[in-house]
Symmetry: C2
Subunit: 178 residues, 2 copies
């Protein structure tokens, strides 16, 4: 029996949740799972962020951001980053996360994460109550020991957001046989 | 030790892979994991598809598409849909998937899937070798017995694409405690 759902977007979950880092002097972090790769050549990703949020202001001002991929170890920090606003609190201090310099841009990465994309704002598009930011990926790197042939191994325990306070991680990997 | 990766986009995997259905008389299906919700009000999602692909032509012609969420049971059909072109073969026949009428649009849904979004093309944006299509969600529904408080239950076994021929499903659900 098929039933109408209240929150359509949860049908596209669970999906990776990342920490977006942006800002000039004062650096802010924000949790986001509305993110997708959009192009391979040039390498580009898109993220959708609430128009009125602090991160939109920062990205529009500094034109750069980093995408930091957490494992499940950072679930509490992700929850804090996703539910507090950087307008009012210092989320770096609150989460205890450590920033490190990026390779190609001024905005730092979050050292505690297992993978990182350094992005330069390329295009943006208004979509309902959000802005969709397309970022060109200038650098992409990850913890070597958690990769297997360029993919996350099972040990990476990439954090996936199911919805609300519910999270999960990937199960065992399966190879399609056809 | 952090290492540069060859395919940046695999750092944003595993992620839900969906079947996009589009077309006028001849209906085609395509597998896609570069998809994300982008707005809640109005409800909108975005998908990125290779510019030269058949699905882009169909979406631009009929201005509608459905997003169909498969469980792991459809892994072989997803692989076929993602690796063959509808220009040359009838992927519905090849996969054996069954189409059903949509509620709000002309393009059908794939009955074998566990969840469905009916979308009307709203905006598009050129991004590298792909086109990013923003669709307004006119209807969203799913198999009732696989939902738990509006989220996919563990029984749904939503198919996640890790990369290449590698897939997975979500593991046990965890509630953040803070």
């Amino acid at each position: 029996m098929k039933k109408d759902v209240e929150n359509f977007y949860y049908l596209l979950h669970p999906r990776p949740v990342v920490l977006i880092c942006s800002g000039n002097e004062k650096i802010n972090i924000m949790a986001c799972s509305w993110i997708t790769p959009v192009s391979e050549e040039p390498p580009m990703i898109a993220i959708s962020l609430w128009k009125e949020g602090y991160t939109c202001k920062l990205i529009e001002s500094c034109k750069e951001f980093t995408v930091n991929i957490p494992s499940i170890d950072l679930i509490k920090a992700v929850w804090i980053a996703g539910t507090k606003s950087g307008k009012n609190v210092d989320k770096i201090a609150l989460t205890g996360l450590k920033l490190s310099p990026s390779k190609k841009i001024k905005v730092p990465i979050i050292e505690d994460c297992i993978g990182h994309l350094e992005c330069k704002l390329s295009k943006s598009l208004e979509v309902g109550e959000c802005n969709l930011y397309v970022g060109e990926v200038l650098a992409a790197y990850a913890k070597e020991e958690l990769l297997e042939k360029g993919l996350w191994s099972e040990n990476a325990k990439v954090l996936l957001h199911s919805g609300g306070k519910i999270f999960t991680i990937p199960s065992k990997l399966t190879t399609v046989r056809i």
